[in-house]
Symmetry: C4
Subunit: 271 residues, 4 copies
Amino acid sequence: MRPPLPKQTLQERLHEIIFEADTFWGKFFDVALLLLILMSIAVVMLESITDVALHYGVWLKTLEWVFTILFTIEYFARIYAVKRPIHYIYSFFGIVDLLAILPTYIGLLTTGGHALTVIRALRLVRVFRIFKLGRYLGEGRVLIVALIASRFKITVFLLTVLSLSIILGTLMYLIEGSESGFTSIPRSIYWSIVTLTTVGYGDIAPQTSFGQFVASLIMILGYGIIAVPTGIVSVELANAHANVTTKACPNCSREGHDQDAKFCKYCGEEL
Amino acid sequence: MRPPLPKQTLQERLHEIIFEADTFWGKFFDVALLLLILMSIAVVMLESITDVALHYGVWLKTLEWVFTILFTIEYFARIYAVKRPIHYIYSFFGIVDLLAILPTYIGLLTTGGHALTVIRALRLVRVFRIFKLGRYLGEGRVLIVALIASRFKITVFLLTVLSLSIILGTLMYLIEGSESGFTSIPRSIYWSIVTLTTVGYGDIAPQTSFGQFVASLIMILGYGIIAVPTGIVSVELANAHANVTTKACPNCSREGHDQDAKFCKYCGEEL
Amino acid sequence: MRPPLPKQTLQERLHEIIFEADTFWGKFFDVALLLLILMSIAVVMLESITDVALHYGVWLKTLEWVFTILFTIEYFARIYAVKRPIHYIYSFFGIVDLLAILPTYIGLLTTGGHALTVIRALRLVRVFRIFKLGRYLGEGRVLIVALIASRFKITVFLLTVLSLSIILGTLMYLIEGSESGFTSIPRSIYWSIVTLTTVGYGDIAPQTSFGQFVASLIMILGYGIIAVPTGIVSVELANAHANVTTKACPNCSREGHDQDAKFCKYCGEEL
Amino acid sequence: MRPPLPKQTLQERLHEIIFEADTFWGKFFDVALLLLILMSIAVVMLESITDVALHYGVWLKTLEWVFTILFTIEYFARIYAVKRPIHYIYSFFGIVDLLAILPTYIGLLTTGGHALTVIRALRLVRVFRIFKLGRYLGEGRVLIVALIASRFKITVFLLTVLSLSIILGTLMYLIEGSESGFTSIPRSIYWSIVTLTTVGYGDIAPQTSFGQFVASLIMILGYGIIAVPTGIVSVELANAHANVTTKACPNCSREGHDQDAKFCKYCGEEL
């Protein structure tokens, strides 16, 4: 919360406010943006409820435009604030920021609309900028480091679960036949995933004694192997000790710099 | 179980009995209170069953009043026993103790009644005073310490789960349409939470092939990410080694003092 | 698999065969007993299927009597083999062994029958004598040691889950009302346990928007707190390193002696 | 990606390409085989959907034969490439490779067909050869080592879960009776497995108050004991540190050799 140094240019100040969270205005901007995003998501949701859309459609449309214009201003401010805009525009969050405003403008031209809703919901991804806020940063990083470290083990595990589901689903298709809802192999595989993951909708369920016996074995198997990813993540989490700051490079806008870093480790720019 | 020292005043004795669990009468009081609370909760439950309420309504009402009067006496005894009653009254358990008796008195004045039931159920929170009983104290503390230590990681995790649910719910709303029960985005989000957490009611379930395919991916995702909070808590639990007593400060009634503490670490009062 | 020493009395040999698993005949006895128990359980199950009971009722009755008589002989052999029969008779497995044979004899006198079935199913508990077989012993011990070490933490955790279920169930009873199946507080608590534990039958499910919102929070809560018992057991398992033999004391028939123990640590009898 | 040495015989080159993944062609072969397997599985699935089978039956049959012939060529190439074909033929993957091609040829002779489908789905097991690809090898090995190390503890655990299911299922059969779907003990056991593993279809659910009370206890129990396998695997994973290569012995085609191994540890052949 130190006062901004007088020597900063407008570009430098904007960068500090928009991309960092170490100053007062940087935090204020993040919190305000978070609220805007959440409200715009709420509008998208409310529009999908038939009753609400009928009565308050005009209000929701207006709010949608207010949010879109604010996000557009923010988008161009971000481009102005970084030294190398191309890097920002093609970064993950750069694309998400663009996707947050495009659907409303496209909605003016076409009448398809429906598919645009799900793109608008992607605005929520921008909430993850909140991880730059204070304490949450380090924690999020530790989780991500642990998940990245265990990505191969988790992939192997999920492949095994998928293979088991396919083989067991095919088996149940032969055992149960189409009377109990196991009408095709893909549908039986859907059932075996529902069962192995212990979700258990009950829309498809074995009716024959032998089918129920095999289903019981599958459930106990699923109960046993749920232990595997947990063990993987536990071990990796115990190993992951991240120590990073909220600083972003003013040049290439990449993050993850150590607390005592003076220069960007990606492009050498002074932080 | 040492005999109470003759020099204690009534206030000091009451404090030892009501707030601590190291003496015989302190333990006796806790166990008796526990039974009273459980019985009063049973009465609240029985009142909600239409058949029982019709036949034994008068008995249940009478019992309710007996419990309320006993709890009222206990509440004022607690206020008398601590040196600075204000601290107790505004403490977490002070408010819970008040909420345990208020609904019955308010029930005399109004006829709303219904909403008071849930407040009465909060009496159960008072059961957690039992954690002061012997061995359970340390264990409860270790759990709480581990949960507090992992609260940021768990928050980040739950936020991620929530965001995933919202984005996947919106996606399924577009895929399935309203025939299969995905009538609005909030309802689809409800479904995706039911699925991601592996609860799986089956009141809403995908009917189209593509919907079932996406649902399968969501389930496997949910099965994989359940490992994350488990890993978090495992690591924190391994770190948490609490060493605390059942002593409560006679002045400010706060707990959590070390075994060798001679003075309250919050207000400096001798323990 | 050393040959039995010639100096052993009949009682000592019987003890070695029946209670221990370090010799050839000790292992043979355990495996044979295991098969008998499993077959007798199968008979109990088959009797409960209406179709099977109608066609093969006589065969099943006969088999039931064969097993009962064999178990009776085994029971008296056990009493004869230990030096202090009283200790065996009142031990956990002594009572289970008696309960395994009593129901069939009682069935001769009364016609109640039904409740005896569940007692007969308790025979399955005797299968856990298999843990005395070779490698499985140590593993089972490690699990039990870890569970015993974490019993206080697990109790605190389950009490918390139970309290949460009661408070959340009461809340949902008020929110949903009786149209959606939340007809009484105990039934709502049943629902909240079904949801918190991620079982999710779907026989009772919230219908109102607000009910579904609260239910979503409960599910995410349940998803988060499932991490707690897992963390507890992981930590305790890492601590538990048991090192015990299959030897049982010929005098008091208690187990859990160290590999290098020469005398029973409970009664001092030579092993 | 070093160029193949000129001194290699055809047999040695084939072995390097088919059985190993350290050279460019070895990797290429594995990826191509993976795609073929996945496509052949897709054909098996599509055949089971009535609509698709009606319209594209001929195409699917043709594709099936293309895949079968390719797999047959591969099978004989494998036999030719290893020094001791008998070892390969009777190895686990040798049998799986044979089972991948047999069903189509048998389908020419008989018209049974149905049971052959599930054998064809076993082709998927061959996907696990992908684990030889680069990074995934070590990860898969670590998981397998951890699972093998914990197999006794997991067996003890699953036996306990099974016993609990049988005893609790019998109990619920007595409590609920046949009105609520608990028509026989095996069916009640099926229900108790569905509940204990937190799958919860809801096709069978307790209707009586006492039944729901007991079911609640079973659910909380299942919620608590799911912690056990997780703890087991976590501890074993922390212990498992595998360090193996993708090399397979050219003589006996067994894998798992250390990075610095010069000779096959099973048959002494130079690697």
